[in-house]
């Protein structure tokens, strides 16, 4: 624990972190970028999740939809991760101590594991349910878990703002 605390303090003391913490416009500017990126991460993942659940885009093949939409998810995710890291280092100690932030990280981990299982195992059988038939139960489950995780991520992310010392 000692080393984690030291690492977090060191992160906060880096010139970049200090610049963000001390500037009046840096935090809100990065935060806006982060919010825009996460809206796209959430929304584009939801397109795929809803397709897996049979609730939208049912006229399109799963593989085709994934090819179309997921590059946008990853692009937005990269922006969200970079901007999020910048916000994090400006108040690293406070964030790590914050229960909502921890829940957010936990849910992102869960969403990541769900995605890896889907990509490596479930997706192998995609040819059987790519179009015109309902998605296999494992695929539907992946869609439901993903959607629940990401709603939770957005929710706890907003909650972090209420509980860490930044404007509501």
């Amino acid at each position: 624990m000692e080393t984690v605390t030291e690492l977090l303090s060191w992160l906060e003391s880096t010139p970049l972190a200090l610049a963000i913490a001390q500037s009046t416009i840096a935090f809100p500017a990065i935060e806006i970028l982060h919010v825009i990126a996460i809206t796209l991460v959430f929304g584009t993942i939801a397109i795929v999740d809803l397709r897996l659940l049979g609730l939208g885009s049912n006229n399109r093949a799963v593989t085709e939809l994934c090819r179309d939409v997921l590059p946008w998810t990853w692009g937005a995710y990269a922006i969200a991760a970079i901007s999020g890291s910048l916000l994090f280092i400006s108040q690293a100690t406070q964030y790590v101590a914050n229960p909502a932030f921890r829940m957010k990280m936990l849910l992102m981990l869960a969403a990541g594991i769900n995605m890896v299982v889907f990509e490596l195992i479930t997706f192998r059988g995609v040819a059987k349910w790519d179009r015109d038939v309902p998605v296999a139960p494992a695929g539907k489950l992946a869609g439901a878990v993903s959607l629940a995780c990401w709603v939770g991520v957005v929710g706890f992310a907003r909650w972090v703002g209420f509980t860490v010392g930044v404007p509501e």
């Binding site: 809100p28 935060e31 806006i32 919010v35 825009i36 996460i38 809206t39 796209l40 959430f42 929304g43 584009t44 939801a46 397109i47 939208g56 885009s57 006229n59 399109r60 085709e64 179309d68 939409v69 590059p71 946008w72 709603v151 957005v154 929710g155 907003r158 909650w159 703002g161 209420f162 404007p167 509501e168």
Partner: protein, 161 residues
């Protein structure tokens, strides 16, 4: 406006919303999820117009998939936003950032409706093979910029009141 804001703020409804620990955060989260659906829908429509995604889909197919996200999103945004205004009227009604957001919202709704009507009337000019690309591009770019501006000013409300 500030007297009006004060009057709302003094109502028992406003007080009740503020006093609940959970209500404002839960409503904000709902508000954010709804705007996420709208921004994504606007970006996917724009990406299709720009030829960056969904090239196998016609414009009507893409609009049929994503325009309902925008209208449904707005149906969720309006009441949740109204509750947030009632809870903390000074934060919004007395805040120029909020009025910028509302102006952009009005524009975004207007051009989305115009897009829908135009597409219903004649989809041909919206397809890639349509001769004139300029109107398509103007709609695509302004739609995305307006929705992103709405998200940005929405977040900035917290910093400017």
């Amino acid at each position: 406006m500030s007297a009006f804001a004060q009057w709302i703020s003094d109502t028992s409804l406003s007080l009740a919303i503020r006093e609940s620990v959970w209500l404002i955060p839960m409503i904000q989260i709902t508000h954010i999820v709804a705007i996420a659906m709208i921004v994504t829908a606007a970006v996917m429509i724009t990406a299709r117009i720009a030829g960056l995604a969904s090239r196998t889909q016609t414009m009507r197919e893409i609009a049929h998939r994503f325009l309902p996200w925008i209208w449904t999103g707005l149906i969720v945004l309006a009441p949740t936003g109204t509750v947030l205004i009632i809870a903390e009227p000074q934060r919004t009604l007395g805040n120029p950032t909020f009025w910028w957001k509302m102006a952009m919202l009005a524009l975004a709704v207007a051009i989305t409706a115009a897009f829908q009507v135009s597409l219903r009337r004649d989809a041909e000019p919206w397809e890639d093979r349509g001769q004139k690309a300029t109107p398509r591009r103007i709609f695509a770019v302004s739609s995305v910029l307006l929705w992103l501006g709405i998200v940005a000013t929405g977040r900035l409300i917290a910093y400017t009141y």
